[in-house]
Subunit: 308 residues, 4 copies
Amino acid sequence: MGTEVPRLEGIFPPIPTPFDAGGDVDLAALAENLGWWSRFDLAGIVVLGSNGEAVLLDEAEKLRLVETARTATPEDRAVIAGTGLQSTRATIALTRAVAAAGADFALVLPPSYYKGLMTDVVLERHFRAVADASPIPVVLYNMPACTGIDLSAELIADLAGHGNIVGLKDSSGSVAKLGRIYGEAGRDFRILAGSAGFLLPALSVGAVGGVLALANIAPKECTDIHRLFAEGDINTARETQIRMIAPNAAVTRRWGVPALKAAMEMIGLRGGPVRPPLLPLDDAQRDELHSILIEARILEPKKKEATR
Amino acid sequence: MGTEVPRLEGIFPPIPTPFDAGGDVDLAALAENLGWWSRFDLAGIVVLGSNGEAVLLDEAEKLRLVETARTATPEDRAVIAGTGLQSTRATIALTRAVAAAGADFALVLPPSYYKGLMTDVVLERHFRAVADASPIPVVLYNMPACTGIDLSAELIADLAGHGNIVGLKDSSGSVAKLGRIYGEAGRDFRILAGSAGFLLPALSVGAVGGVLALANIAPKECTDIHRLFAEGDINTARETQIRMIAPNAAVTRRWGVPALKAAMEMIGLRGGPVRPPLLPLDDAQRDELHSILIEARILEPKKKEATR
Amino acid sequence: MGTEVPRLEGIFPPIPTPFDAGGDVDLAALAENLGWWSRFDLAGIVVLGSNGEAVLLDEAEKLRLVETARTATPEDRAVIAGTGLQSTRATIALTRAVAAAGADFALVLPPSYYKGLMTDVVLERHFRAVADASPIPVVLYNMPACTGIDLSAELIADLAGHGNIVGLKDSSGSVAKLGRIYGEAGRDFRILAGSAGFLLPALSVGAVGGVLALANIAPKECTDIHRLFAEGDINTARETQIRMIAPNAAVTRRWGVPALKAAMEMIGLRGGPVRPPLLPLDDAQRDELHSILIEARILEPKKKEATR
Amino acid sequence: MGTEVPRLEGIFPPIPTPFDAGGDVDLAALAENLGWWSRFDLAGIVVLGSNGEAVLLDEAEKLRLVETARTATPEDRAVIAGTGLQSTRATIALTRAVAAAGADFALVLPPSYYKGLMTDVVLERHFRAVADASPIPVVLYNMPACTGIDLSAELIADLAGHGNIVGLKDSSGSVAKLGRIYGEAGRDFRILAGSAGFLLPALSVGAVGGVLALANIAPKECTDIHRLFAEGDINTARETQIRMIAPNAAVTRRWGVPALKAAMEMIGLRGGPVRPPLLPLDDAQRDELHSILIEARILEPKKKEATR
């Protein structure tokens, strides 16, 4: 990883993909959102992640999104692009393509369709082949809720020895495992929490930041937790962490991307529709989401335009 | 479903995709295999299924495979093509494309990446949208071991009311559920067992056939079970069923596609390599597989060339 | 197993334990129920099973129940008593005690609290120790929905070689596995389906009967399926099997023992309350259960008193 | 909770039950162990927990263990006794009996056999009934790896409102959930980490201590993490936390109670045999365990007698 590459440390929102009324990618809306995120102390963004509906996009759409993300993101901030596909060769091809389009890091989900066959041996060969072929550093992406595969601590620590595998985004929430990886993988291996729900606990065992859906709508609170922890003010960090649990659950585990996009609209960002089979929130869910955002002080009805 | 369409009843091998030494699709090898399967009393074939490594193929490869499959399969036998993708629009596009390429039925996996959001409501809209748009009849494909989603009996029975959803391939092995679907979905809804391991039990509660990986290497035994059951000879059917359990497990749950391709080579078909991340069997696994095939009388070493 | 012992073949209801209004065991109610079941062509009964709320009983209650069950059951019918506890020594002690109280067979659940430690080696030692010490033949009881442990086919086939382990009640519903066990364990090993939902499929791969919650309220239909299968009339057997799926689900997977006891009251048997923490059905559930029983022709409102 | 009751805060080892060569409870060995633990800055002990093989003990054994534990533990330290059984009435009876025997708190596992029926409504009634009847304060015990039931945050927060339910031991490791409970249950509700693997992360979101198997063999390290965190020295706390991950995994998730007892023997405590069906470690496992303890500096071969 050359010195010119932005650092893999701090808070990264995994940005949603805005669609227009016809269901096509809306790059102007994306650029507008990126402009807003640029005002906060974020370390970069993740494009083509789970929250970006990457599995619902075609390849041409993906590359346009990376190009726009790179252009509309400050140069000193990282653009991390999700590139994990089911076959090794397709993953390599997409990784090369996003690198050419300007991505700084590739975030690579494990192949997962043939779950019963995805032994550590198989997964290790896959990730090494991708890392060998990738022109940009690779970040492992552990997301068992979506893939049905939970990368083992042994495998991750082993892969951390590869010169082009530089970190891990972990969405499993198993902080005991993160502690173990921190102990075994070496201090240069960058661990990022995959959800704001356990950001502070992850930091306590060695994570250096997070890729957090919530950071799309609460970038200040997420960066506050990171900063307060670094400053040693655990008590204030904890209060913010606790306050973020309900809104984080709403836009992740409970209602997912449809809620994240609805929340973005509520705070003035360009969320737009989700792509089917995903369905938008119904009215009752939207009302509950709105209350949760107000309760968490992410949304302040009276001065919303002014502050956001 | 017009009268000219082959019937969805009987035994269908979900055919593997042969690759050449360079890892590319080998259509000549496919045609050769199809010639051999044509000699048995099979009802058709499934192309682009799990055993066809569909998730590891690109779209152009998929369409060439369907075209070759249709050309090299007798006209009165069905060519069923797997078309389920993560987005509704991509699934519709692929379904239309395989129909244009000659497929008689579309076999549609549920979207599964956003598992937590795939409620019955979401899945019903998805499948109805696909069925509405599809020029060919749709067969639902329930494969929880790969997708992490187990389609509910309620959902399946409900979807069976759609005029263009004509059947189900079920690989869950829950025959209590199949019985319930048989009772609720109407007798025109075609239930196909998704694995030879429970073919006879599935027939006992109303299934009309099976899509069976084992049928690639043991077509006679699989069609025998189906025929013997229809003739009322349960005892002989059971003996064949029991004999098929070990080889079926070997080429499905235990070792999957790599074992199926290895077994094909052992009986004289064109199996070829798997596509990474899948790895070929190691020597010990191959030896054990060989013994299992002999024990099950699928492979008869001394007269192998003569009979196969 | 001596010749005087009743045979382990046919249909066995796992009988509920009646409690009086004060929550204590009501042996008179039990005897009354047993009198009714004796009128049907059942092969015996299971006492102290999951449906008997065995885990909610103390040891003195258990032994009184076995004594009453043995006294009130025809001599040529088997009384099978559940004796599986967490420790090997307690399981042996209870097995000996129920044998002394008159049980013909012991039905033994695996220990399950230390799930992560229950390897095949551990379980094999446990079952062999129990079988070695038991004065009556042992039937293995696989009930993953309650124990979280799914006994492997290898383990079961291996244990089938023990002279005092004579059969298996399987509630997993995996008929592929039952077929494998039938093929490997030897034809003297008795396989019993653990739920009416898959009785016919289980018979098709070699089971010789079933321990069926539904047989408590629909003994005729359950024994019909078994008899029709034996006579080779699969089509009629299937129609009964399909009709039994909804009521079976109601008294097992959906609502469990509370629904079974409510259904018993509806057909004129002595059900009585469940023991806390179990709660009785609420009114809406009772109404739905009533409709399901009528729909399945288990309950015929107008001539209910006359026929039951 | 009266002022005379020891506080539920700090580190508690869930103590193993020593058996003699004949397999019976060895109270003298227990007292000897308790003497050693008394030298460390522990807040008390848990008797009759999972590590105490409680499910393998009979009631008379349980009460003798509580009596001995209370007698051999300093008065200002809490004796917490596990009392959760499958039936509500048996749980109440045992809770009353351990209170009479001197326990300060009851640690109550949820009933779990009828998993499918254990809704929040059922569990809430159960825990409230136990808490209403208990003469001592109740601590909820969430242990999904053993029970197959994961108590919901909603249920726990709701139960925290009961005047006699004062805390939670959570072994799930989901620190996001602990944070949520901390936020919702009120600051008087005591959250205890259920495993040393996530002690520091749990403290970071509001836990006040832990019930830690590892504290049996590494009481100083466990209390160090707690103390260092309270002093604001996260970096040193983290180093100890990371060092404890491997030995903690060895005596919990990997090898469980047999490893914990073996490790106790290695450091000079009275471990003794496990009760069947549990099996002792084999030689290879013992060697690996020994290495892990040395690596973690829990065991220092050359000066072992001197320091422990």
